[in-house]
Every structure is written in C-alpha cells, then in structure tokens.
C-alpha cells in the first residue's frame, strides 16, 4: 500500500470530541471515569483504554482570545522510538505508514512507554501489554477511512495519500498564516516524518508538544551501536554479559536523562 497521511487541521477543529467516541466504538474500548482537568479537557494523557483525546489550551493575547484545540493520538512515526525500543519485536511498521503493536508478542516490558517522545503507548498492568492507537489499520487495509476521520464533524481530519495531502496541507497553511502568522506544519520531518501531520496555529510547546521530538540518544546508542558491536567484539557468553551489564547501566542512566529531556521538550504544563 502507498504511504498514507492524516491531516489534522487544528484551524478547523472545534473540539467536539466525536473522534474519541468513534475510536472507542470501533475498537470496543470502555469509557473511563473522568473529571474536568482544565478548560474542557478530561484526559491528561493516553491510557491503555483511551487512544485519542482532545487537548484544550487557552491563550489570551489581549485583546485576542485564542483557544487552541488539538486531537492527540499516535503519530505513527516513520522512525518510531517505540519500535526501536521494543525488546520482543512486537512493534512493526507498514509501508503505508502505520506503527502497530502486536499484543501476542508484547511482553509488557514498558520500554516503548519510556521512549516515545509523545507519551503515546501505555501499559495495561493487569494484562502486561502495551496499547495505543492502531491508525485503524484494519479499516485502512480494507479501503475504509479511519474511524476518527470518518466521523470528524467540522472536516478537520482528512485522510489520503501523503504525496497529495502534504502539498495540500502546505497550501492550506499559507492561507491560514494570513490570519495566524505563527501557524506551521508539524510532522513533515519530525521523527522521520509522521503519518498524522498537524497544522498548528502556534508553536508546538503551546500545545504541549515537544519542540524537537527525537528518539532518545541513549536508545540509539544502545540499539544501533552497542548491541551490534558488543555481539561481534567479544565472543559468546562473555559478550552477552558485557552487553547486558553495559546496557543496564546505560538504561539506568538513560531513565533520568530521558525524564529531564522530556520535561525540557514538553515545555510547560498542559
């Protein structure tokens, strides 16, 4: 299948939250008990049972009021940190641009949860499995639009071929910039390019998104350099021990660093 894209044009999103209901209905996910957190928002992060939700950011720039409303879901990165970090090959990527967790292979180690710069996958502690938005790959591969796109009321979400939709998004951006000069595209190159591409009306940190999302450096070192090298340089069991110890040290150190990186990148409370 050719490379797909979903455009999330926040200049049109009215925060109706129908996308959340469609996702839950299609994926047979139960409702959660919630409280209002801030503005009209009831979810502060993803959960194993909530794979998409809406964030509401109020920004008053006298005399203009701005209400930035954004649908959050998995970005489906071209270079996904979750896939890289997975210790059981449970996460795979399709040519069409979808990153999918195969629950049967998932051992619930939680590495994907720790490494995603967007905080997407979440561990269900009782089942010891990680869950996230599937991109409705089951619908997409049967020539249907994703459930959220299908239901979007104001026409904020659009699904199609990346090679047509991305230029279309840029054209739309130049229109939007006439009234919102700080508007930009987010997801064109981030994480190698993401299937869910945003037209944001302001900087990513205003929406609680990382300015420059990356796969944590330590994970790259671990998976791309140390593990392969470690396997070759020292033979057999010794290699395994060396790699294991070194890897753990790195991972331990990484944990704190990653948290700091996350805090720095997310820029401000949401």
């Amino acid at each position: 299948m050719s490379k797909k894209m979903v455009l999330v044009d926040t200049s049109k999103c009215t925060g109706c939250k129908a996308c959340t209901v469609a996702c839950k209905e299609w994926n047979e996910l139960p409702a959660e008990k919630t409280q209002l957190l801030t503005s009209y928002q009831t979810m502060k992060e993803f959960t194993p049972k909530t794979w998409t939700y809406t964030t509401f950011t109020e920004k008053y720039e006298y005399p203009k009021m701005n209400w930035y409303i954004r649908k959050a879901q998995c970005f489906h990165c071209a270079e996904p940190a979750c896939l890289k970090s997975c210790s059981s090959n449970a996460i795979s990527k399709t040519d069409s641009g979808y990153v999918v967790i195969e629950q049967e292979l998932c051992i619930g180690c939680g590495y994907c949860v720790d490494n995603c710069p967007f905080g997407v996958p979440k561990l269900d502690n009782s089942r010891k499995k990680a869950y996230k938005c599937t991109g409705c790959i089951d619908r997409v591969e049967n020539n249907l639009t994703p459930a959220c796109v299908q239901t979007c009321q104001p026409g904020c979400l659009e699904y199609g071929e990346r090679e047509t939709l991305l230029p279309q998004a840029k054209k739309r951006l130049s229109e939007v910039q006439k009234t919102h000069p700080k508007a930009r595209i987010y997801g064109e190159t981030e994480m190698g390019g993401t299937t869910f591409v945003y037209l944001l009306l302001d900087a990513p940190e205003v929406y609680g998104l990382p300015i420059n999302p990356t796969t944590p450096l330590s994970l790259t070192i671990w998976k791309d350099i140390v593990r392969p090298v470690g396997g070759i340089a020292v033979g057999g069991a010794a290699a395994a021990v060396f790699v294991g110890v070194f890897g753990n040290v790195l991972r331990g150190a990484y944990r704190e660093q990653a948290q700091e990186e996350k805090d720095a990148q997310k820029g401000g409370k949401r």
């Binding site: 209901v21 919630t34 009321q153 229109e175």
Partner: protein, 804 residues
C-alpha cells in the same frame, strides 16, 4: 431556515449571534469551513468565547439579552451610510409604504399601549391607504411618512457609543462588525436559542429580518436568516403545530369566538379557507361536509386569555387544573426555567403517563433528593419508547427538508414507537366512547383514523395524509400546485405545506446527491417544503426582468421562450406561468399581504372590499398581515432581571408587555441587582444533549464531559477567592446550586453603563437521575417569557457566587 445547511458554503460572511453552532450543530461548521476556504469571514457575538468563537475572524463578548442594542446600531449605520441595496428595498420591501400619521414611538412605548391591560392595540401601526384599500407609496425614500424614514428616525438613538454602554462591546468593535457584515454580500445570519430565549426574542429575530432585507440578502444563495433548530425534528414538530396557537401548517388556531367557519375566516382572511377545510377533510373524512361546516366545531377552541406555553402550563398544573399529563420525550423537571414550579406541579396530577427511553428525572420526579414520596398521590405509568433508529418516519430538519428514514432495527423488549402508542391508545379510547350520541364525543367517533393494524401503525400512511388526497378519487395529490388549484372541500391535507411530499412516490425518501449547479441545492435529496423550494423568496435573486442578479449564484429565472419560471431551485412565485412584469411575477414575498418584505410589520389586510358587502355580511379580507404583539419595530428593552436600567428609556426599562409569571410568588421570585450582582447565562455543550436524559446514560459521553460547572472570569475568581477546580455556590432569588468552578479568559469583565459587570456561564444538562447525576441549573433561571412566542428567558438572569 430561509436557506439551508448546504447553502452556507455560498456565503461571503457569517454573523453567528445567538448560536454556538460548532457545539450544538457541529455539521454546520463543515459547510461554513467550505465558505471560509473561499475567503468568507465569520463573526461571532456571544456572551462567552465559545468553541464556535475559536474559529471566528471577529468575536465580540456581549452582555446577555442586549443584542437589539448593537443590531439597532447596525441598522442605523446601514441607513445613514446608505449601505442598503436600493433596488432591492424599492422592489422587494415596504420601504416606500407610507405609515399612518397616528403611529408613534415615545417614552419607550409604541402608540396603542393600554397600561391597564398591558397590551397593544395595533390600529395605528398601519399604512395610509388609497381608495382601493392598498397602501400609499411615497415617491422618495426621504419622504418623512415612509417606512424607511420611520426606521431611520427610530434607530437614530442607537449610536455605536450608546450600544457600547448597553452591551459592553466596544463601539469600534460594533463598527467592525457592521463593516465586515455589510460590505460582503451575500451574508448569512445564523441564530438559535441564544436569540430566542429572551422576553424580546421575537424582536431580536426581527432585527435580523430588517438587516437582511436592507442588505438584499433574502432570497439569495448564501444569504438568508437561518434558524438552527434546537432538536432534530423540532421543525417537524412545529410544522405539526406543537405550538399552542397553531394548527398544522401554521394555520391560526380557532378561538372561542369563532362559532362558525365563517367567523374564523372573517378573522383570519379568506386565504385560510382552502387549508382549514383540507385539514378538516383529512381529520374527519366523509363526515366533513359543506353542510356541517366541514366539522369545524369538532376542533376545540382556544381561549386567548388562557393560552399556555410550557411555563404557563405548569402554573395551571400547580393550581390543580390538570388531572392527567402525557409526558412524551420531555424532561421538564430539568429543562424548564425555575424548575421548582415543575417539581411542585407534577404532584398535583392524578396521573402522569411517560414515554421515554430512560427513566429521566421527570419520569421519577418523586425520587428527587429532598422529596418525600409518601406525600405524593400521583400515579405514574411509563411506556418504554423506541429510539430514533428503531422506528420509521420522517424527520424535518432546520432547512425544511422532510427526510424519510426506515427503521434500522426492531425496538428492544416492549418498547414501541410513539406512533404505535398513540394509535393504540386512540383506538381503545374510541372503543370506550362507542355508541355515544353526545355531541362532545362526536369528534372522537367521527375522526378518520386509519394508520394500519394494531401495534404496527404505518408512519408512511401518516405522511401520505399530510401530503394530501383528492377526496373525490381517493388518490394521492401529486403536487402543491394540484392542492392549490382544487376546489375547496375536494381535497384533504393534514399539513398543507407538506403537500406533494408523497405525491409521486415517497419523495422524502430520495437520496440522489447530484448537485449540478454546485450551489448545494440537492433538489433530488429528500423533499423540502413547500413544493421542494430550497431557498425561500428566491424570486428576489432576480432583477425586474426575472434574470439572476449574481452570475455565480443562479437560483431561478424567467425562461422567455418557454414562458415559465425555471431554474436550479423551484421558483418561489405565485404562478410559474406568470412573467416578471405581471403583478404575480413581481412578488417575492407572496405570503405577505403586501407581497413584499416587511421592514415595519404594519397592520394590514389585503383584499378588503372597497364597498360594504351586501346583505349585512361581515367584511372579509384575503390575508391579514402577521403582527408582532410587542411592536412593529424592534426596540431594546432590558431583560426581566438586569444589573442596570435601560439607557434609552429608564422609566420603561423592560418590555412593557413581557410576561413575568407570578401566580406563585413563593416559587416565582425576582431578584435585585443589589443581592445578585452578576449575570448568568445558560447553554448546552456538544458532549450532551438538552436535559441530558439520554446522553448522561452513555458512558462514552460522560467520559467526555463528566460534570457541570460555572465558568467565570479571572477577575471574578480572584474576587471570590476561587481557583479552577474549587467548588462554588451559585445562587439566584429562586435557588442555588454547587458546582465546579472553571476559571477562564474566555469570559472577560466588561462595562455596562460605565460599571464593571461579570457574566457567569453554566451548562444546564444535568439532573438527579442517570449514570452521571449533577445539579440542575434551572434551579436558578427565571421563567419570564416572550409575549409573542412564549419562549422562556433562560438565557439571562441575576445571580451571586461564592466559594462553597
């Protein structure tokens, strides 16, 4: 709507005021966005910065209930700067009609006000008439007697600066709204309950009508006055006369002094003969004959002195007038302003029959916390009702599209469609009256009633009855035109505006989405009343020669070769064969007795004889004009509970004829600004629907919006020492509720007559029942009502607030 949802894509500018369509009519945004992609601008005027406002180009925060103040300023601006479409107002409105010299507006009241009865007599709101009983017309728009001059004089008081003091919207912003809206044509005005739920609701909509007529936006693609109806089939409901003073098709309801059909026609004009006889034939069939006045006396007559919109019904109920209430799909215990009256009144019933999907609050009113069931004698019977997907029938949307749907699945258990419930009930009732020869029982026994077999009534048969039959042949009437041509008494229709919907098959079931004109007309998708005309008054989109004024928005035109009005839409003309230079072909507003749009709603009857009728017969005209009981021109009045005094006429601060129910002063209290200094406005949210009777029983929706709240400005939060998430107690003279506090910049402090004013916003969709119970905001609201439409003033009252 004069236009439609899909027509919104044709607009150049939107004024969305009195509507939060992004939340309450989400699909509207899809069409609005198409227009905006082509460069259209959106203006939102609302007491709060809503989800709709988040997409607006221009936003203004307004003090609830003061819309007429800034709209009047826009009218003044249009007239003084000559921004009106001069050809349009000359040809299509009563701008040049000369008014009775006795007409006046002074000291806050119009001529004809009787302070004792608190009613207007409308004799002076009339035209100067010629010998032919037709209105005299001025030669110039500057003639001091003409309607336009009277408008100019009336709104000269509405300067931008005065409007700022009243509404809290800066004068420069009001001017920006005026410039943005007036200079882009066509412009569309969208409104909903934010405009109608006021004691001056009707007059608020009248200002929209005046603005759109002046700008020439009526009858044009992308223009119009578009009411966004509050429930999916409320348009269908009002078409079927769920308003107390109507019969189906908006026929006037007979009143107690209409002893005969003739009396009814003398009062309402001969134009009503055809539809009321057709209605009586539909209801009484062969039993309705010319000799018995078509069973006219079988229809109960209203007593205008005791006409009752919803709030007044509960006053009568509280006084013990009713023994039995049928409560179908209604949750008044949550939705009615000053709901304490409902709570008290329901116990006065001997019996209540509820039909609903869930045991909504009203269905179990005795279980409300604090209520002692042992004190209540009412017997409550609950019919489980089928849901929308479980029953066939038609649903008429805001755009007047009659949309047929089949049942997708069978109802669960014993649940039945309302039609089946009513059908079975009526048949059993008729059985009980069998054999009676009493005159009062005749309507029950002689009614034509044939919708199918027991327990499975056919909604299609109902729609066919509405569409109409040729009573001489028993065949369905093909079109509205056939109904109009037929002799009186030879046809039947249950609702004449629906004539033709099942004339050639069930046209309401059509789903052909071809749109050859690209204007979103969709002529072959369902069936719009009347006669599948999608954009009302569309003759006004043409010039005097009957050719479209706007090459990009061609709706209808006179085809000189075929000698007929043709077009992309059905032509809204009296006779399709009468050309643009004929008296019929000139009229764009054929339902008005003057044949033109009415800037000033004058008292006038067309077709009055110039010589007295023979044999002492009463005078009967053809069509009397529709009148507004509270004035021929909109005037700004303060809401019943207001933080301030009317700047324009402090001695007549509120509307002198607003209805403020006060039969039960212990329940129906009024608050003063000294005790309740803040303004409350109430509204719905996208996540829930109306009183929440259904939606608060859906866990996915409760997850999205789990609780009610009070939105307040940062200043007000600081003043009361509350932060986001704290509990606050909001109180009015009538009651108090404790909810979560939501602190936001979407509400700003504003100035009213120089004084700082705060608005508090609260959604009203919660009650004590369901999976997600919560306090009901209508404990706070006031039940004063618009004297014309009966809409309650739920949108504005006075409250106080403190940390709980």
């Amino acid at each position: 709507m004069t236009n439609s949802w899909s027509d919104l894509q044709n607009s150049e500018v939107f004024l969305i005021a009195g509507s939060n369509c992004a939340e309450n009519h989400p699909i509207a945004m899809r069409w609005i966005h198409r227009a905006m992609e082509k460069g259209a601008k959106m203006i939102v005027v609302d007491p709060r910065f809503t989800r709709t406002a988040s997409k607006a180009d221009v936003f203004a925060q307004i003090r609830p209930g003061t819309d007429i103040a800034y709209l009047g300023a826009i009218i003044r601006y249009i007239i003084e700067e000559k921004l009106y479409d001069e050809d349009y107002i000359r040809n299509n409105t009563n701008s040049l009609h000369k008014l009775n010299k006795a007409y006046k507006f002074e000291e806050g009241v119009f001529s004809g006000f009787d302070p004792k009865t608190r009613k207007y007599s409308t004799g002076s709101w009339s035209y100067q008439l010629g010998a032919d009983n037709l209105p005299l017309k001025a030669n110039s728009l500057d003639d001091p007697d003409c309607v336009l001059s009277k408008l100019k004089e009336h709104y000269s008081r509405y300067t931008f600066e005065t409007a700022e003091k009243i509404t809290g919207i800066p004068a420069a912003k009001i001017k920006e709204i005026a410039d943005t809206f007036c200079k882009a044509r066509p412009g569309s005005i969208l409104y909903a309950l934010g405009m109608t739920q006021h004691t001056t609701g009707v007059q608020g909509i009248r200002t929209y009508a005046i603005i759109q007529l002046l700008l020439g936006n009526i009858g044009k693609a992308g223009g119009g006055i578009n009411a966004l109806r509050g429930e999916p089939n409320v348009q269908g409901s009002t078409d079927m006369a769920n308003l107390f003073n109507n019969l189906p098709g908006y026929l006037p309801h007979p009143i107690s002094t209409d002893k005969t059909l003739q009396d009814y026609l003398v009062r309402n004009g001969s134009v009503q003969e055809k539809p009321i006889v057709a209605l009586l034939k539909a209801w009484f069939g062969e039993n309705a004959t010319k000799e018995n006045d078509y069973c006219f006396n079988y229809i109960p007559k209203n007593n205008p002195a005791t006409n009752a919109p919803m709030t007044k019904i509960f006053e009568f109920m509280e006084a013990g007038q009713f023994k039995l209430l049928f409560n179908f799909g209604s949750n008044s215990l949550v939705s009615i302003a000053n709901r304490q009256l409902v709570r008290s009144a329901l116990r006065k019933l001997d019996m209540m029959v509820v039909a609903d999907l869930f045991e909504v609050e009203t269905a179990q009113f005795w279980r409300e916390p604090g209520v002692n069931p042992a004190e209540i004698q009412t017997e409550v019977i609950m019919f489980p009702a089928a849901f929308v997907y479980e029953k066939a029938g038609s649903l008429t949307n805001s755009a007047r599209w009659i949309q047929w749907k089949d049942a997708a699945i069978k109802p669960l258990g014993e649940a039945k469609p309302d039609l089946d419930i009513v059908d079975e009930l009526f048949k059993k009732i008729r059985e009980l009256y069998k054999g009676s020869s009493e005159e009062k029982d005749a309507p029950i026994l002689k009614a034509r009633w044939d919708y199918g077999h027991d327990g499975e009534a056919s909604a299609l048969k109902v729609l066919q009855e509405l569409s109409g039959y040729d009573e001489t042949t028993g065949k369905l009437l093909p079109t509205l035109g056939d109904y109009l041509k037929a002799p009186v008494g030879s046809v039947s229709t249950g609702c004449w505006i629906y004539a033709g919907v099942t004339g050639n098959g069930n046209l309401a079931a059509r789903r052909n989405n071809a749109d050859p004109s690209g204007l979103g007309i969709y002529k072959d998708w369902t069936f719009a009343w009347p006669a599948n005309i999608r954009i009302l008054y569309n003759r006004a989109s043409c010039d005097k020669q009957g050719q479209p004024l706007d090459p990009k928005r061609k709706l209808v035109w006179w085809d000189a070769d075929k000698k007929v009005w043709a077009g992309n839409d059905g032509a809204d003309v009296i006779d399709k064969a009468k050309g643009p230079d004929t008296p019929e072909g000139m009229q764009s507003f054929r339902m008005n007795p003057e044949g033109v749009g009415r800037l000033f709603t004058a008292s006038f009857t067309s077709g009055l004889p110039t010589t007295p009728p023979p044999n002492g017969q009463p005078v009967m005209g053809v069509r009397p004009a529709g009148l507004c009981v509270d004035g021929p021109l909109p005037e700004f009045y303060e809401p019943t509970e207001s933080p301030t005094v009317n700047l324009l006429h402090p001695n007549v601060s509120e509307s002198p004829i607003a209805i403020v129910p006060s039969a039960f002063p212990e329940i129906q209290k009024r608050g003063r600004p000294e005790d309740y200094p803040y303004v409350l406005t109430t509204y719905a949210l996208v996540e829930h629907f109306c009183a929440g009777g259904i939606t608060r029983n859906i866990p996915w929706l409760n997850e999205l919006m789990p609780e009610p709240f009070a939105e307040i400005s940062k200043n007000l939060a600081q003043k009361i020492g509350a932060k986001e998430g704290d509990k606050v107690e909001v109180s009015s003279a009538r009651g108090k509720v404790t909810v979560r506090c939501l602190v936001t910049d979407r509400l700003q402090t504003y100035k009213t007559n120089g004084k700082d004013t705060e608005t508090i916003g609260m959604p009203w969709s919660w009650g004590f029942a369901s999976l997600s119970p919560g306090p009901s905001t209508n404990d706070l609201t006031i039940a004063s009502i618009d004297p014309g439409a009966g809409t309650p003033e739920t949108k504005v009252c006075l409250v106080n607030i403190r940390r709980a």
